[in-house]
Subunit: 544 residues, 2 copies
């Protein structure tokens, strides 16, 4: 029996205004017709629904009452966290998602980091129309095969049936190439390196918030080069940027590598990927970078005159990261209590909870809490002071833990007297993560908080690395592979077998080749399936 969610709906958590706790304490009911057929925990409320205008005092909940414990039902936990932490909600159209402020702020943190990296590496942002003539999609043979089952089509515009139906972009290679063909004439126009932040639409049948939705947000980079070497270098550079982003900003120890032929993007020569291990040990493809070769330039006639005056087709890449990454962050770090956010991408890094009993204490505690907030804010820390009077401190502790805020600062009357605060880490539960007597003196406090944020950031990464590594099994035979997958782990083993063997593994185990990792062990290898010599190990796993 899934325990009911007792946490309320908040409107604006991130910005100054006033914080209000709506009193509707019953489990937030998602509109039933919006709920996907699969998965969403539908347990009725086990508590008494409070009427909206009462203000019950809620005692400290045990964390496992807040959301379905992760250890109990990973999928229900995931959906509960998204609802409770107000990361997203279902849109009215099946499979669509509303990204709420707290979830969107994580996406903004992702954008802020990547946008700088893209510009530093010479890319310019621009914007292509989302409506693509249907005929464009058909020009690149494997592209149309890959995408046609997932297309949304506009057939009516301004009250009239359109002569040519329009595809709502599932990705933009075709329209990008149509334009590149007009802009590129000479080798001097190359490289052409652009990016766009946009929404894309793929008519997916099985959807899951953030992970797979009908419409999602992403960035898509598109580049054109004079040589295949340059394109290859670019594709590798971008997967390297994604990899560093994952490790350094989100504490997700992705494994970067090359996709198998079967798993390569529809229209690419080579696809590089970063694969992340979620808390349920399923793999999440968290970003891809494609070396498109000349596939699209041949289909769209994108040519340039080289230094010898000869016309050649350009060599291209494309690469993307999407709002799916937010799902990856949730499923990597969250625990039974709820969300756990890496400090670098946390919308709120520090929450301050003032504690008082008597009204005489209130003034001084709130005044101290405001000063602490001011000090941290000035030092560039994203800080929230939860000074509402409608909830107990214990309730607030639970609430902000569920929201994954990395550090909580408690300030009570005795702390004020001693000019100190209590600092609790979200990633170390209970007393072990709680340190008393941290001085309120600005430079001391700021230094302490920043150090702790860094420690949490590293600690989350280390924990994720150790979880990942303890769940990858080196295998040397198909039997071992099957056993590893059956036990829920990833299997890593030498592979040089055929596409049909790969297909067979998928059918028999549910696992696919996630990638041939860039990091390979030296020495001769023997294909786990055929016994033939193999040049590389591949990683097999079930995936989202």
């Amino acid at each position: 029996m899934v325990a009911s969610l007792r946490l309320p709906s908040l409107t604006s958590l991130l910005f100054p205004a006033t914080t209000r706790y709506p009193a509707a304490l019953r489990r937030r009911v998602l509109c039933p017709r919006n709920r996907p057929a699969s998965g969403f925990a539908t347990a009725p409320s086990s508590g008494t629904a409070a009427s909206p205008d009462t203000k019950p005092e809620v005692n400290r909940l045990r964390s496992d009452q807040a959301v379905t414990p992760r250890s109990q039902d990973f999928n229900a936990w995931y959906l509960d966290v998204i609802a409770s932490a107000e990361l997203a909600d279902y849109g009215p159209v099946r499979g669509t998602m509303v990204i709420r402020p707290y979830g969107y702020a994580i996406w903004e943190a992702i954008q802020d980091y990547l946008n700088v990296k893209f510009k530093e590496t010479g890319h310019s942002n621009m914007y292509f129309p989302q409506f693509i003539p249907y005929s464009f999609i058909e020009k690149e043979a494997s592209h149309v095969e890959g995408f046609s089952p997932e297309l949304a089509l506009v057939t009516v515009g301004g009250g009239h049936e359109l002569e040519e139906k329009l595809v709502v972009r599932p990705t933009s290679e075709t329209i990008v190439n149509h334009m590149f063909t007009q802009w590129i004439h000479s080798y001097r126009d190359l490289p052409l390196m652009i990016n766009q932040w946009a929404n894309v639409t793929r008519w997916e049948m099985r959807t899951k918030p953030f992970i797979r939705t009908l419409e999602f947000l992403w960035q898509e980079g598109h580049t054109a080069h004079a040589t295949p070497e340059e394109a290859e270098k670019e594709a590798k550079q971008m997967i390297e940027i994604y990899t560093r982003f994952a490790f350094e900003q989100t504490s997700i120890p992705v494994i970067a590598g090359r996709k198998s032929k079967l798993e390569t993007f529809a229209g690419a020569d080579t696809t590089y990927t970063i694969e992340a291990m979620m808390g349920d040990r399923k793999a999440l493809q968290a970003g891809t970078s494609h070396n498109l070769g000349q596939n699209f330039s041949r289909a769209f006639g994108t040519q340039f005159q080289d230094e010898n005056g000869e016309r050649q087709h350009v060599w291209q890449t494309s690469w993307a990261v999407s709002t799916r990454f937010v799902g990856g962050i949730i499923m990597t770090h969250g625990d039974d209590t709820g969300l756990m956010l890496p400090p670098k991408i946390a919308p709120i890094q520090v929450v301050i909870v003032p504690i008082w009993k008597k009204d005489t204490e209130k003034t001084q505690v709130l005044s101290a809490a405001s000063s602490v907030k001011e000090v941290l804010q000035t030092a560039g820390v994203r800080v929230k002071l939860d000074d509402t009077t409608e909830r107990t401190a214990g309730w607030k502790f639970n609430f902000w833990e569920m929201k994954g805020v990395p550090i909580r600062i408690e300030i009570g009357p005795r702390d004020v007297s001693s000019n100190c605060v209590v600092v609790s880490r979200r990633d170390i539960p209970g007393k072990a993560g709680k340190v008393f007597g941290i001085s309120m003196e600005p430079s001391t406090l700021v230094a302490y908080v920043k150090e702790k944020l860094d420690e949490i950031q590293s600690s989350l990464l280390e924990k994720a690395i150790s979880f990942r590594d303890s769940n990858i099994v080196d295998v040397n035979s198909y039997e071992e592979l099957k056993a590893a997958i059956a036990s829920g782990k990833w299997a890593r083993g030498p592979w040089s077998a055929s596409d049909s063997d790969e297909q067979r593994v998928k059918e028999e185990t549910g696992a696919t080749i996630r990638c041939f990792p860039f990091e390979q062990t030296l020495g001769s290898k023997t294909c786990l399936m055929t016994g033939n010599p193999a040049e590389e190990v591949a990683i097999f796993a079930k995936s989202y």
Copy 2:
């Protein structure tokens, strides 16, 4: 006869990489089927098209050869500037636009400013799906009437005919209210204040890049409040933010005011607007803020329980600024030579053009130019060093003037010897805007450049104010109004006549009420049409 465009297509102007000047010097041919039926200047090239692999030395062009002079043909000039300055291009689908890096960077500057203001005033960003069930649009009567002729409809998804056709959002009030209804329960959930940056689609028949396109980018704010007073205050606050943005960032002296009933947004009680006078004296509605009253909350049942336990419908606002603003900037400040960008939103504020004849001079000139670039960049100035060897300095002068860069710094061998540079202002043509002997000493140079940027920013605003004010005629009769409009000006006069009188003015003069400006003169007034008492003056103008 329109002179040919001799300026080439550039790939990446904004970011470090290498700058290359493609040699294709002939007028960039826009794909004919992309060209809208109306307006685009179609003069053939009057120069000899150079073959793509030659590198002709082009002498300094007279500015009036670069783009169609504004004074000659405003519309052709506008489209030429967009093409030459590579702000945008036509997309493959009629009426769609590709926003190129230089144009997109202006939009990013707009976003950067507004995004901060929105957050400072308590709004959170989020994201709603773009697909809206058709039935939603029908719920608010005047809304459906206003938008149904312009809708793009998705009727096929994943290969199947959809049961309910989906509207590609023309604006999001309906879906926002659908979600607000689920999130708002109590007065404690209010105010709910959000914003989204998104693309929207309106199936327009007559399109023009940036000004009116099938798809465009915008931000749309949506708020819900407990009282009509709060909603009104919010709607006014947001038009005030837009007004300040227009004046302070873009040097556009908009006139803020209230729309007439006929011109009010479909679904609003009141629409506030900022109206800008373009270089051809047509008005551009550059931003709007709507007090929606309870129209959408009644249609969608968006209710809250107030402090007395009674259920009430929320009071709402919505407000938007779009990529249209980029068009407004072009048409406000540009001149015969091309674009002229206000420093605060210019992607490149300063361009450095090094000048040398002998190779021995080259090294020291380029080294000095690099230092100057470094110094300015470190000081936070957006600076570009144009150090390519494929073009003459004169050619570069023209090119960057056409691109509207506010300040040019020239550095030649003699400047290097005297440790000085030459600084030219884009807004003061020729020698009058050129100052010799500005010291290269970092603090002096930085202070000088920053001061000049501020001066240009103010100067553009003053010029635009004086242009605006000299083109508004105070009128007291319909005859005077007709004369003012016929002479291409705006008419301002007391108005209390009927909707049908307003309609008659439109039919007979082509002008509409742009707004009842907030700034009103005191004293009793007599309606210019009826002679009845009037409380306010209205501004009439032809508009985009």
